[in-house]
Subunit: 208 residues, 2 copies
């Protein structure tokens, strides 16, 4: 058959990661941070993503520790939540996406914002010490900063990698400039749910 | 608040699509095919993706017609299935991902292949006239070609956009070279579930 050479999933992973480490400029990343960068590149097929990845100095250690002690993972999109591999999670961490909650449409109207941003209002009780993961909507990332400005409890760390042409780059720069919470961003337009989930999976386990 | 300028979801879409049409070289795409290319670019934030998108001449019309008459959408990954917007589907089309079926692990062992490829064996009864969407695993795309070689019923069209470093580019070139089924691919390493789902959403509805 046509696919005899690539039927071993583990071997495919190993070869992929070796190619990434040979091709990508990963000098800025060590330890857990390197693991995160490699897996993000793996998710999108682009080794030059490395140049746009920015993490606060404490992001990787804080994010890994938060998951290890059971932090919930609060996701802005179902595609992000579905990309998290349950078997990698170190403490049976809850993976939460509130976008389908029946209260969201009403909240969006009441707050005059998008459904993605309104859905985050339902995170308030779980936000303290959580891992917040924004892989889709710039409005969600801006809304997170608004919530923090308004006194919401702080997550342990934020993965802020919305994708797109309107507001995405600006929302990520705003998160990095804010500096209140350990963060991971991808500068510019690139990002998305697969890259976001890959970062979570890398923080969750050293397994490759 | 920080996000006052981008709280209107519809306006964000309109501006995003206008930016894409201004920046991307879309001359090769007309009508439904143009709509598909624009939405794929929207999903990944990269206007230069246009240069790597290849569709067979009949792909867009056949894919759109298949969905209109109720074709099921057979997805290799849950992230793909979750990225399909139900409200855009023209005929309440079923969105199928068999990866979590309890039979998959046993099938993978028996067939000596990955779980993603084994999961497709459970599509056989629905394959005729379906829209097959491979957004994650090159092994799945190769396995589809193996199944067709072996006499499996033909889908109406195939979206083949796995992402990655080992086998992804080769699997997509193999689909295009095969030519048996109307196809959409992204040449090279880029692809993924978001791009795959975006292509489905564009075929499903003209709404932007």
């Amino acid at each position: 058959t046509r696919s005899d050479h690539i039927k071993d999933g583990a071997a495919i992973y190993a070869r992929s990661f070796a190619i990434i480490r040979a091709e990508a400029d990963l000098d800025r990343f060590q330890g857990v941070a390197e693991r995160v960068a490699v897996r993000m590149i793996h998710a999108c097929g682009m080794t030059d993503l490395a140049g746009d990845i920015v993490m606060s100095e404490d992001f990787a250690s804080v994010g890994e520790a938060a998951l290890a002690r059971g932090a919930p993972i609060l996701c802005d999109a179902k595609m992000v939540a579905n990309g998290v591999t349950p078997s990698r999670l170190p403490a049976g961490n809850r993976v939460v996406c509130t976008l389908d909650d029946l209260r969201v449409a009403g909240l969006a109207t009441a707050l005059g914002t998008t459904r993605s941003a309104a859905a985050m209002e339902l995170w308030r009780e779980e936000m303290a010490g959580s891992l917040v993961v924004i892989g889709n909507a710039p409005t969600s990332l801006f809304h997170l900063l608004d919530m923090l400005d308004g006194g919401a409890a702080s997550p342990a760390a934020v993965i802020g990698v919305p994708v797109g042409f309107v507001g995405a780059a600006e929302s990520k720069e705003a998160l990095a400039a804010d500096g209140r919470v350990p963060f991971l961003i991808v500068r510019g337009r690139r990002g998305g749910s697969a890259i976001a989930a890959a970062a979570v999976n890398a923080l969750a386990s050293a397994r490759e």
